[in-house]
Point group: D2
Chain length 336, copies 4
């Protein structure tokens, strides 16, 4: 049984870590921090966790005692919280964007920050970096959009079949976090669709950098807010040099993901949707069809808070500690 600390446990990803880890047979959350809510029971902000007997604490990073710390802290904050933990010999999984980029300049440009404490980190997408994750001391958990976008595009890029991808994503509102804003009000989101940061979202360069490691590709990305609590559906539009048969493409994906416990490559004609993966760590990938204009479409669906954040962090933890990869992540999607 390893001991886990969660820094910033009062947000949605913190809540998800607590919800899922409650069913982990070899790991236990021993500290859940929140400066603002110190002393309050967890269920004050997470009403669904009423059965957890745990209180928020205010613990400074340098005073943390745990085998593993998961930092559910915003970008800009993580870069100051992670280093003292690593220094103490604690392994860390960071949910922010601070340690995701190989190219610091790209990070600093898109995040508008100077990175004060760069460290070596492994990009925590198990399907691509499983080996490196096993021994990592610092794992940078991928962004929610990049998770779905990369998994949907990777085989095509790796096989050099496409040179340009357009990722049109539809995301649930929980991705915007627990803090109330105009954007996330029910009256603004319900019965509505709102594109945002249409040509300037930070996850574009993250997708670009990771895919470019495997092939020469140019990435375009636009997210849309839809009236959904959880989930990201990414429609990847691309134009292969030559026509590709659906079953050929499906087989390609089958081969890439055949041993992956959380990737479902769907049959030709089967359609990914959010409800198939709601609350679960699965990623569904499907379509593989090409139209008369030569466009090939691949679609992926994930739960942004699970596979796109906290579930993937637990998957990374399971890999880091040699646990069964599916521990705490066995539950299937919640449909309807």
């Amino acid at each position: 049984m390893i001991e886990i600390g969660i820094i910033g446990a009062n947000g949605y990803t913190g809540g998800e870590l607590l919800r899922l880890l409650n069913n982990h047979p070899q790991a236990e959350v021993t500290v859940a921090t929140s400066r603002k809510l110190s002393g309050e029971p967890i269920y004050k902000v997470h009403p669904h966790l009423r059965n957890l007997d745990l209180k928020f604490e205010a613990v400074a990073p340098e005073d943390m005692e745990a085998d593993l710390v998961i930092t559910a802290t915003p970008h800009g904050a993580s870069m100051n919280i992670v280093p003292p933990l690593v220094e103490k010999g604690i392994r860390v999984i960071d949910l922010s964007g601070d340690y995701r980029f190989d190219n610091l300049e790209v990070y600093e440009k898109w995040y508008g920050l100077t990175h004060e404490n760069p460290l070596d980190a492994v990009y925590g997408l198990p399907e691509l970096y499983r080996e490196e994750i096993k021994s990592a001391n610092l794992v940078a958990n991928p962004g929610c959009f990049p998770t779905g976008a990369i998994l949907a595009s990777f085989p095509l890029v790796k096989e050099k079949l496409v040179k340009r991808i357009i990722v049109d994503s539809k995301t649930g509102v929980s991705g915007a976090g627990i803090k109330p804003t105009e954007t996330t009000m029910f009256t603004n989101v319900s019965d509505n669709v709102i594109p945002y940061l249409i040509t300037s979202h930070r996850h574009a360069p993250e997708i670009q950098e990771k895919l470019a490691n495997y092939g020469d590709v140019s990435v375009s990305f636009t997210p849309h807010l839809v009236p959904v609590i959880r989930g990201i559906l990414s429609t990847v539009h691309t134009f292969p040099e030559e026509d590709l048969d659906s079953s050929y493409v499906k087989e390609l994906y089958d081969n890439f993901y055949e041993d992956e416990p959380f990737v479902n490559v769907l049959d030709v004609g089967e359609i990914p949707r959010l409800s198939s993966v709601r609350g679960s760590n699965f990623c569904q990938i499907g379509s593989f069809d090409q139209d008369e204009a030569g466009r090939l479409v691949v679609v992926s669906s994930i739960d942004n808070l699970v596979k796109g954040a906290s579930g993937q962090a637990i998957h990374n933890m399971n890999i880091m500690y040699g646990f069964k990869e599916t521990h705490a992540l066995e539950y299937l999607g919640l449909h309807p």
Copy 2:
């Protein structure tokens, strides 16, 4: 490891049984029937169960082989399916209304049917009938509305504190089943609230009969369809003979439910809501406040497909077989 058969596995309660039992350490679904879909993989109608390696079969009740059969069949059908199973010595949990009533006349009047095969059955509300369930061969799983309404009212009735209760319930759409109807179309439900069977819903006499076993009470009930997938919130309005302090009422509920693994009695001031129990087998009960007009309000929330149907069936199964009561029901609510 016991073997379970599910008759009528192609509906929502069938899907929930399969979803939840997938994580049961001592029970396994070996047969899932559907006449219409025989031979098709489960995920054809349950897209979230893509990882289950199971196909629908067409098996007649008299040919079922299993330790326990759960009949997720409509009222009127169950009365013909259950008897041959019981005769074969198979234990049965029936999700329909056919075996819930002690008074056959009430059943026949409200369901508009002649009951052809009455049998002795235990009403499967564990909080009231745990002892009887242990040795039951036939358990009649409670209706979804009665589950929440009875749990919210029972202590007041048992203590003879109230003589009349008005249950105003708000229900998600999944309670109407998997078959498309005008009522359940998105365009009719979304951004809408629709009361129905305002003074004539079948669950009224069910609540009435069960509570009347414990005290002299008159029950009124009205359900409302709200734009929610899962969940029933029941607001119980009642007028105690004398004024009751909130903390006194809360303590009363604490005492009644203190050993119950799935009932959360909330603090005074804490408010039940659907998201706290979404996807889980928990029932939250709260409010306990009285207004200037003498009205005392108690509110309960459940997931209609879990605590209100399939989860409660598994709870009953766990009790019948002496398993840990929380097996397959450990997962917490899905919020947000």
Copy 3:
């Protein structure tokens, strides 16, 4: 053509006034105030009003020039804004609670405020106070819940048929206003039902005071937040002394409301719902059925921002100025 000023035009009721008055043949909005947004075009906060060529202005009440001012300001603020307007001879319709109560003590107790500037005002429910509204200089526009609750209960109370009513209301989120809060976040409201101020909502004493003018009645009230943008459905549970036939009750309502342009008394068996009145000034009233326990149910539905606020204000204005009552309010509900 009269000139209208709207004070506090940057909220939802302000937006509705602007949307509806745009189609008024005899009235024109000439000033729309917002201190914070002074100088900005209206559509900065009201994206649907892009075609209105109007900017927010910062105008003090004492400097307002208009025939009529509608104060879409919060309670506590209105009591300081309204008096200088009235003093200048401007007629005023106030949307806050500040001038709704005959009994100041009740107001001060429930609103937790000392009323500094009491004035004579007419309660602006046209169906009850049309004559008084005609010549009023200050109209206190009713609360959203009281509008639906009073219209649904009034005939029964006036005829002394009931002594106690329980109003169980389900409201859309727009009633909470335009300012983001935890309560109104999509992630908290969607797929959820949340009762609030279960025995302590301010609209309870408002309903109580207005109905008590017509009969001896005791009012209980509980609101529930449902995942709906607009609309209030109120289910009124009551227990008449003697049994009342549905068609008798329906006829009673028909008689009371036969000349009312915005009240639809439904047939027995027809069910009020929010989508029937969405975006419109109509109130639908129906059910009229009694159950075996003697409970009689009447249900009303309104759009909280129209009949429950801005539409009713325009109706009051039309009455005050002798315009056709339906001017600017002709549009039917938006369904689906």
Copy 4:
């Protein structure tokens, strides 16, 4: 005052025609047909139209008496209903796909039908074909997706700035019609996003044919069902030959649409959304930004039942009869 007949008035587009025409000063619906509901009041299926004093009738096309008939009938049916009307000298606006295509072969291939009665028709997109519509006897009202997609792409295509467009659309559920199906159930749509006919939707060749009249362009199209009642947001991804400045593109659109009463070209930085046009006949067009990969994005939003169907039909009617173009279409969007 002209007399209008609606054939197939029992669907959503029929309901919208009735809702909007109720406020038309120069046109009146005198016949609304439905074989199935003949004799029933309109509000039996359109609960929001309770104040319309009109009943469904069963009238054969050859017996219709009206100045104009709007056929709200499915493709395949219209081709048999329209010709007898035209023969009688009645002007017709057809909402189906039957008369939209210049190239019959394309129609027959994508609709899987043999067209038995081809007739000359004008494509009823006022922004492109106003002159031809004025004198048309048969107007083919555009498809809902093509309306938004063409308006968003047309200036770029006409100016030969782009050669390829990818239209990624998100649509509300009302586009699927009033008939209940699995696809349109609340439980399947809510909290979900579902792409469909990913590379094979019939509206792709319609967009292709109409745009190809103005420039050499290759069109790709994918629709997604989102949990929204009304509205289509279309994100058009395209790659101009050379970099285009946002303000240059915006100005281009301004020039094309400057006299259009229902097209709002938004400012750079302003974002189209569904709630801005909900229930109204407006189309908002915005974005105009280009990303580092050279992709230029233009986004449009419409209400699929109004600008995408019935409102556009009324706009066409106003043009055909020389009425003020905005008659019956004055109402602004319903937000929130």
